[in-house]
Every structure is written in structure tokens, then in C-alpha cells.
């Protein structure tokens, strides 16, 4: 990239390096981000972001990035450590296959938020779309957490193998006032989903069941909701007062009995 463009787009603001993303192609923007990080920046502010994809993808390290505007698809995909605060919405796949780090979204999220994430946390103030948290996992001390202030669409937590999803339903959609869409947690075989409401059993997909919350669950919810409130305001105590529903796997081996072998069948 021409040095002049770079100069015009990059400025300093205290400890922040500010990049003006206006009209930039994602490739230019992401290259610039990598460059300033290589040159030592630890805190970045990206302004006028308007749907640029792949920001902070595969980024390793504890960087702090503020994004003003709409972050495009696959924000922080494969990321390993950075904290990203978005003053605006995020598009599909924010936190996709993320290993560690944090995403705080002051607006809404679209589809497949937190898809396959293995670690780290995502907080969304508003609503999220379809297929959110599909195939979330966990590994050793890494237990990913996704907290949504509003509601979630269909297929939430499908194939979930680990981690925790919390849907608070503090705001509702006029067109679909329920806290969560259909086919919830189909094929779930690990982790748990907490809904701050009651739902009909017919929303549950194959392999999911309800479970009573324990004291441990409440303690966990309180911690996460307090963190949620620390970003977006609100009273954790008040939020905790409502009834929660917990959805867990029927079995950790949902497909165990599906297959046969002529030799093992005794033939």
C-alpha cells in the first residue's frame, strides 16, 4: 500500500492507533491492521468500518481493538486472544472457530455467530440470527461462553459439543417475540444453553432435553450477567429474577446405536 495512503489513514490518539477504514477494501484494511500491530500497536481503533470482512482473523495475542461501524463477516475468525469491542453490529460468523479472546458487540449479530468456537467469550447486546453457536466446543480449561441480550433464531446450538450459551431475551422482536427459534440444540452432545424464559418442549431438536438449574448454574449465570451488565448497563440482580430454562444433551453419544457390523451382530 502506498505510504501516503497509509499516512492519511493512520493516526494516533493517546495509546490507540486509529485507522480510518472508510471506503477501504477488507484486504487493505486487514493488511494495515497487521502492519501497525507488527510495528508495536497494542490498542487499535478502527473508525468508519462498513462491513469489511475478516477483521482480526487468526490474530494471536492480547490486543485490544475497538470497531466503530458494522464489522463484516467472520470477525475474529480463528482468533486467539484479542479483545474486540464493536460499537455497531456484527455480520455472519463473528467469532467463528475462535480459540481465545473476547468480542463485545453493542448492536446485533446476524447468523452463525460463535460457530464452532472453542474458547473465549462473545457478548451481544441485541439479537442474533440463525445457526448461532453451532458446534461450539470446549477443551480442557477452555469453555467458550456466548451471551445474547436479545433473542436468537432457529438452530441455536445445533451439534453443540461444549461451551455455554445464554440468551437473556431482554429485548424482543415484534415479529417473533419468542426468546429462541425452532430446532433448538439438535444433535447437542456437550455444553449447555440457558434461556431466560420458559419454552415449549417442541422447540427442542433431536438429542436435547431440559434440566433443572443447580446452584452452580445460578452462580455461573450471575457472573456472566454481571459481566454483560458491565458492558451494556442494566441490573444483574433484576435480570436474574426471571425464570431460566436449561437445555442439555440427552446423551454425550447421540449416534451410538445407529450403526451395525455383521460380524459384531453375531453373524
Amino acid at each position: 500500500m502506498a505510504a501516503t495512503l497509509e499516512k492519511a489513514r493512520v493516526s494516533r490518539e493517546g495509546e490507540f492507533v486509529v485507522i480510518d477504514a472508510k471506503g477501504m477494501h477488507y484486504r487493505e484494511l486487514n493488511e494495515l491492521i497487521v502492519r501497525v500491530i507488527e510495528e508495536g500497536a497494542k490498542k487499535l481503533k478502527l473508525i468508519n468500518v462498513n462491513g469489511q470482512r475478516f477483521i482480526a482473523d487468526g490474530l494471536r495475542g492480547e490486543y485490544y481493538i475497538e470497531i466503530y461501524g458494522v464489522a463484516g463477516d467472520d470477525l475474529a475468525a480463528f482468533a486467539n486472544g484479542p479483545t474486540i469491542v464493536v460499537y455497531g453490529d456484527v455480520q455472519d460468523g463473528a467469532g467463528n472457530t475462535m480459540n481465545a479472546g473476547k468480542i463485545v458487540v453493542h448492536g446485533n449479530g446476524t447468523d452463525i455467530i460463535g460457530h464452532s468456537m472453542r474458547g473465549g467469550k462473545i457478548f451481544v447486546r441485541g439479537h442474533v440470527g440463525y445457526r448461532v453457536g453451532i458446534h461450539m466446543k470446549e477443551y480442557r480449561e477452555q469453555v467458550p461462553v456466548l451471551v445474547v441480550g436479545g433473542t436468537a433464531g432457529d438452530f441455536l446450538g445445533e451439534y453443540m459439543a461444549g461451551g455455554r450459551i445464554i440468551i437473556l431475551g431482554l429485548e424482543r422482536l415484534e415479529t417473533y417475540p419468542e426468546i429462541v427459534g425452532d430446532w433448538l440444540a439438535t444433535g447437542i452432545h456437550g455444553g449447555a444453553i440457558y434461556l431466560r424464559d420458559t419454552i415449549e418442549e417442541d422447540k427442542l431438536g433431536y438429542g436435547a432435553k431440559f434440566e433443572e438449574l443447580t446452584d452452580e448454574d445460578y452462580a455461573f449465570l450471575r457472573r456472566e450477567i454481571e459481566e454483560f451488565c458491565s458492558y451494556f448497563g442494566g441490573n444483574a440482580e433484576e435480570i436474574m429474577k426471571a425464570k431460566f430454562t436449561k437445555v442439555v444433551p440427552l446423551s454425550h453419544r447421540p449416534f451410538a446405536a445407529m450403526y451395525s457390523d455383521s460380524k459384531e451382530a453375531g453373524h
Partner: protein
């Protein structure tokens, strides 16, 4: 009910030769040989035998021979023995029949109906012993044109996309740690490094013992995203997105929790003992646009340093799908034909879905050429490549390189007993059981796997020489050097090959 189910094989033991050493009891992982020490009596559970031949070759007195069972149902051309046995198995269990390795039904094998040309008189053949033969192959996107700066010497001005450099157009297919042992993977990794080619990790992640060979390893990103981690992506030489597999097109897979041992859990980054489920689709990919997004997310995450391949099962619409994949930004499309092997697949999918690799290569190559984008990405073919002749034919049909899976395992000792999914591979390949794993020595495995590549490469050079060509590049998509024998007009048209005699 009487279980009227004749065994597939019978174990014959020469009583004269047998010295009751009980070696066979220890060697057979399926519990065929049983000896009652008190009564001093043998019992052979013939119905459990899979003809892996392990016991026969380990018996110190060669007393054992494994034969096809002479007892069969009354012959019937439609209700074959296998059909009847399958029905009985399912009547007993009520479940899906699981199997392994490639398609077993007798579909036409086009490779066996294609012959290669040779030079006679008018254009002399080349002796590879006398003249250099180029097998080197680059996989990845090629530039539209090359701009040179000739101001001060010659310098390349065009930015070339990352390519993989292969010294021979044969790579080891993706077989995951979990489906096969680390000894089997290590054997192939060492062979790949020695010969100057690559192996695939499969979707099980990269075991730390493979790190020294990482620059000869292609990592895989499959729908379960096991082990997918920025370090993993950055460590390998290239990244392959697995959409589908020839042995089970359109379905996902799962590694049962019983096989997720401590080490496998570490490599896949999932808890020990939990099922590793790979959904049928990638749930962040429901369209070519979505695929493009994953391709570029991976390129961004690795700063455009790694080629990104996309693997699909060869299916009916393979040509437009492959074009979409290349247009979506993939540096190569991997086509896996319906004879492709697997460690575990439902038999119904293995035998009835997908199309042969030969027609898939031809139609994809043709379509990419028609659209003028053949140079945007390479074609890697896999699924039933058995010999250097198959490699040469695949390349002449339009492939840049091939992956070999089953052939590589056979080199390591596999006898294609089709029991990989049990995790009890008698030859120490498709297993995690420590006693069984010991049966494969990775030093010897590496030597044998490398030998196979060397032998095939040598034969490829001879084939090129006979064709009067001195580089594999000149064979690629050169269908004029192929002729069909015993193929229909439609087959020939699809393959873009003339009949023998024309």
C-alpha cells in the same frame, strides 16, 4: 430363530503342523482363534474372520490357511449372498451397516478401459535414463501472464500466488490421526519429506510428532473444525477445506467417543471420550459465496501465505461445482471419486453415491478450460488410484496431481480387510491400541511408502519417455494420448477421448 448365516471365510489349520503355540490367538484382533487350555481343544470362530491374513503370516509353522467359505446360499443372480447377508444383519440389529475402504460394487472402472499412446518411428520416444524427465508439479493459482523486469538482469515483476512444489505428482491423501495410528501418519510424513511431496492430516489435527514434517503436510478444515486453530493453520504447507469425501458423499462422519483417547483428544482439541461429530455440511457454508468466505477467512488468517484447496466428492454436477469453487478463490479443487477409501462409512453411501473419478477429472478440466480459468486453480484427483498407470491416465484426463490413500496403506501392510472402523486393524494401521500399533514400525513404513512413490515416479518417467514427452506438464489434459477400449460413444464423449483405432 436359527441364525442361518454362513461365514465368509473358513480358517483351516493343519493339525500336523500346529504346535499349539497360541500365537494365532494373540495375533487375531477379532477373536477367531480360541483355545480351551483345560480341555486342550481348539475352537475357530470362522464367522468372525475377515481374511486379513495376519494369523496365517505370523504362524511360526505356517499351519494356517484362510479360505473362502465353501458354504454359501443357493446361487441367485439377484439375491446374491451379500444381499441376503445384509438383510439378515439388519433384521437382527435394526441399524445402518458400517464398513470401510472403497466402493465394492462392480461398476465400470474407466481406468481399465483407457490405454496410453506410445511413440513409434515418426516421433521417437525418449530414454529417461539419457534425458532429464520433469515430474515437478506446482499446485496453486498460476498468473494470467508473467511480467519481467529486464532493466538490470531479469526479475519477476508479477506477484505469484503461493504454490506447493511437488517433485512427483503424487501425494498421500488425508487420513486422520484417530482413523489411523501416529505410526502410519509418521511413515507417510517421512516418505513425503524424503520424496519431496505432501501428505494430508485429515480432520484429526496435527500430532506433535508430525511437527518436524509440517512443511510437507497439508492441514484440513472439515465441518467439525476439530483442531482448527491459528497455529495449526499457520504450521502446515497448505490448507484443505473438506466439503465431501468420495466414500461417503453428502454425509458427515463421527469418531465414536470410545476412540477419543487422551492423545486423540489433545490433537483434536476435544474432551476425552466425547463423540467427535462432523456434521454433513459446514454450517457456515450453505452456498458458493459462503465457501468463498471461508476460503478468504483462512487466507486472511494465514496472511495469504498458504494455498487453500477445497475437496469435494465427485458427484453429478461436479463440473459447475468445481468451477464455483475455483471462482470462489480456491487454489486447487480436490476431486474424490466414488472408489475413494474411508476408515468408516455406511455401506449404502459408500457403494451407491458419487461418480467415478475418471469422468469427474475430464468434465472439470473441460469446463475450467471452456471458461478460460483452468490456470486459476489446480485439479487434484483421488479415489481409487492404484498404480502409476492410473496416475498417468488421471493426469492425461486433466489432473495436476493425485492423492493416494488406500494404495499408501497397502504399502504399509494393509490387506484391505475393510475393518478399519473397528479400530482393531490387524496390521497396526487403523488402530490406536498400543499392542496393535506396535505391528507397524514407522521406519520401515517410511521406507516402504517412499519406495512406492519412487517406483511409481520411475514408471511415470518411463511412461513419459514412451509417449515422447519430457515433462509431466505436457501430459496434463493431453487426452489425445489416451484411447478408449470397450467404452460407449457417450462415455468417450464425456471423457473427451477417442476410441482405440481412431
Amino acid at each position: 430363530m436359527v441364525r442361518n448365516f454362513p461365514p465368509d471365510f473358513v480358517v483351516r489349520v493343519d493339525k500336523e503342523a500346529c504346535i499349539n503355540c497360541l500365537r494365532c490367538v494373540r495375533e487375531c484382533p477379532f477373536g477367531v482363534h480360541e483355545y480351551d487350555k483345560e480341555k486342550k481343544k481348539w475352537k475357530r470362530h470362522h464367522e468372525k474372520c475377515v481374511a486379513c491374513l495376519r494369523c496365517a503370516y505370523m504362524c511360526p509353522t505356517q499351519a494356517i490357511s484362510i479360505e473362502r467359505s465353501p458354504m454359501e446360499y443357493s446361487p441367485h443372480p439377484v439375491w446374491t449372498n451379500r444381499v441376503r447377508k445384509d438383510i439378515k444383519t439388519q433384521a437382527e440389529t435394526g441399524s445402518v451397516i458400517l464398513t470401510a475402504m472403497g466402493n465394492e460394487l462392480p461398476y465400470l472402472n474407466y481406468f481399465d478401459h483407457l490405454v496410453l499412446d506410445a511413440c513409434q518411428v515418426t516421433n521417437p520416444s525418449i530414454d529417461p535414463l539419457r534425458e532429464p524427465m520433469e515430474l515437478r508439479t506446482y499446485l496453486g493459482r498460476k498468473p494470467e501472464k508473467v511480467d519481467l523486469d529486464e532493466y538490470d538482469g531479469v526479475e519477476l515483476k508479477t506477484k505469484i500466488a503461493p504454490n506447493l512444489k511437488l517433485e512427483t505428482p503424487i501425494m498421500f491423501a488425508h487420513m486422520s490421526y484417530g482413523s489411523i495410528s501416529i505410526e502410519a501418519q509418521l511413515s507417510m510424513a517421512r516418505a513425503a519429506k524424503e520424496v519431496g511431496t505432501y501428505m494430508g492430516t485429515g480432520e484429526g489435527g496435527m500430532h506433535r510428532d508430525l511437527y518436524p514434517y509440517a512443511d510437507h503436510i497439508i492441514t484440513q478444515v472439515a465441518s467439525g473444525r476439530f483442531a482448527v486453530h491459528e497455529e495449526y493453520l499457520k504450521r502446515g504447507a497448505a490448507i484443505e477445506i473438506k466439503i465431501g469425501q468420495g466414500a461417503k458423499p453428502g454425509i458427515g462422519g463421527h469418531l465414536p467417543g470410545t476412540k477419543v483417547t487422551a492423545e486423540i483428544s489433545e490433537t483434536r482439541m476435544i474432551p476425552e471420550g466425547s463423540d467427535a461429530i462432523s456434521p454433513a455440511p459446514h454450517h457456515d457454508i450453505y452456498s458458493i459465496e459462503d465457501l468463498s468466505r471461508l476460503i478468504y477467512a483462512l487466507k486472511e488468517a494465514t496472511r495469504y501465505k498458504k494455498p487453500v484447496f477445497v475437496k469435494i466428492a465427485a458427484v453429478h454436477n461436479v463440473a459447475p461445482i468445481a468451477v464455483g469453487i475455483i471462482r470462489a478463490g480456491a487454489d486447487a479443487v480436490v476431486l474424490d471419486g466414488f472408489r475413494g477409501g474411508t476408515g468408516a462409512a455406511p455401506q449404502v453411501h459408500r457403494d451407491h453415491h458419487g461418480i467415478p473419478i475418471e469422468v469427474a477429472i475430464a468434465s472439470v478440466d473441460q469446463r475450467l478450460r471452456e471458461e478460460g480459468i483452468r490456470h486459476w486453480g489446480s485439479i487434484i484427483a483421488s479415489g481409487g488410484i492404484r498404480s502409476s498407470a492410473d496416475v498417468a491416465k488421471a493426469i492425461a484426463l486433466g489432473a495436476d496431481a493425485v492423492y493416494i490413500g488406500t494404495a499408501a496403506l497397502i504399502a504399509l501392510g494393509c490387506t484391505v480387510c475393510k475393518k478399519c472402523y473397528t479400530g482393531k486393524c490387524p496390521w497396526g494401521i487403523a488402530t490406536q491400541v498400543p499392542e496393535l500399533r506396535k505391528r507397524l514400525n514407522p521406519d520401515e513404513g517410511a521406507r516402504r511408502a517412499a519406495n512406492l512413490l519412487k517406483a511409481w515416479s520411475h514408471e511415470l518417467k518411463e511412461i513419459l519417455g514412451a509417449l515422447g514427452l519430457n515433462s509431466i506438464e505436457s501430459l496434463r489434459g493431453n487426452r489425445d494420448r489416451l484411447r478408449g477400449v470397450g467404452l460407449s460413444d457417450v462415455d468417450l464423449e464425456v471423457l473427451g477421448v477417442k476410441p482405440a483405432g481412431r
